[in-house]
Amino acid sequence: MNKPIHQPMTSQEIEREWQRQEKAEQRERMQSGEHDDAAIDQYRLIHRLLKQSDIPALPADFAHHVARQQLDVEQQAQFENLTLRVIIAILMVGGLLYVAPALIDGLQKMSAAVTLPWPMLWATTLALAFAGILDQISKRYRIMHR
């Protein structure tokens, strides 16, 4: 039987070999009965053998399993998001409670100076601005992890 001839192929030979490979592919797809070239026949056999794949089959419930896994991931992300919001809210309230006395005292002094009618107005404005900033951070976090 033939053995590989240990010489590099020329570019014309490479092109001719490619044409044989492609012709074999076409003949297999068309289920042609032509046999005029042994090399083409070999490529046809390779094509057939590759079609009878040795790749093991996926588990039958793969798609169902993946879909369920995706739901779990989504629910977990929702839970994490909710948890993050709760933590932010707790931190905000705790922070406000902690700084409130000093803040009110400072605002009272300031209001005395600028004669604002209601010193809590400043505190409310600051708290709202703080909440807005935290909300933006939370949204960006969600977009990054989507």
């Binding site: 039987m1 590099p8 570019s11 490619w18 026949d41 070999q42 079609k51 790749i55």
Partner: protein, 187 residues
């Protein structure tokens, strides 16, 4: 393409069962690619799951400028490639890229009809497939098993079409050389 659109829309609108349908439609392509690249069943199964979770996560970014299967294939390819990189497994053999030097002529005497009867050829070619580089195994599988065009394979792998052609050519030639060696063995 029209079917792709309606399926993508259904998944994005969270229609019941739509994502599972998408997985069913594309699981073979993903599985063939990933398995051929990593060659380990457990890893391949885990990575295939990861591919579909990524598909779901990024589906809103799909612009329909290619077939959905091509887009999903490219995600599968990049995830499997990253896995191989983490394991320090090279995607290509050094000789895959050498111009002409490794290509040897093969004799042309072969009897197709007789060869058909021999089931041993199957395991011989499978063995030869395992010796190919991950990229060659994948390209051969996409072209022959999944019947993808060279252009689609180029899109999936983000390789130039000429490079895909070159890898595919060399892979098939190596398989033919392996087959030739089998034919040359005494019965």
């Amino acid at each position: 393409m029209k079917d792709d659109r309606s399926l993508v829309q259904a998944v994005l609108e969270r229609a019941p069962g739509a994502f599972e349908r998408l997985v069913v439609q594309h699981q073979n392509l993903v599985w063939h690619m990933v398995y051929r690249m990593v060659q380990q069943r457990d890893d391949a199964e885990e990575l295939s799951q990861e591919v579909f979770l990524r598909v779901h996560q990024k589906l809103h970014q799909f612009r329909h400028d290619s077939a959905l299967s091509t887009w999903i294939g490219s995600i599968a390819f990049s995830i499997a490639t990253r896995h191989l990189q983490r394991k320090r497994i090279s995607l290509v053999d050094e000789c895959d890229d050498e111009e002409g030097s490794q290509l040897e002529r093969i004799g042309d005497d072969f009897d197709l009809e007789n060869a058909h009867a021999d089931r041993e050829f199957q395991s011989h070619v499978a063995e030869a497939m395992n010796k190919l580089s991950p990229i060659q195994r994948t390209l051969v599988t996409l072209y022959h098993l999944d019947e993808m065009s060279l252009l689609d394979i180029a899109r999936v792998t983000e390789l130039p079409e000429g490079t895909v052609k070159n890898y595919l050519f060399r892979a098939r030639l190596k398989l033919r050389q392996a087959l030739e060696r089998k034919v040359g063995e005494p019965a």
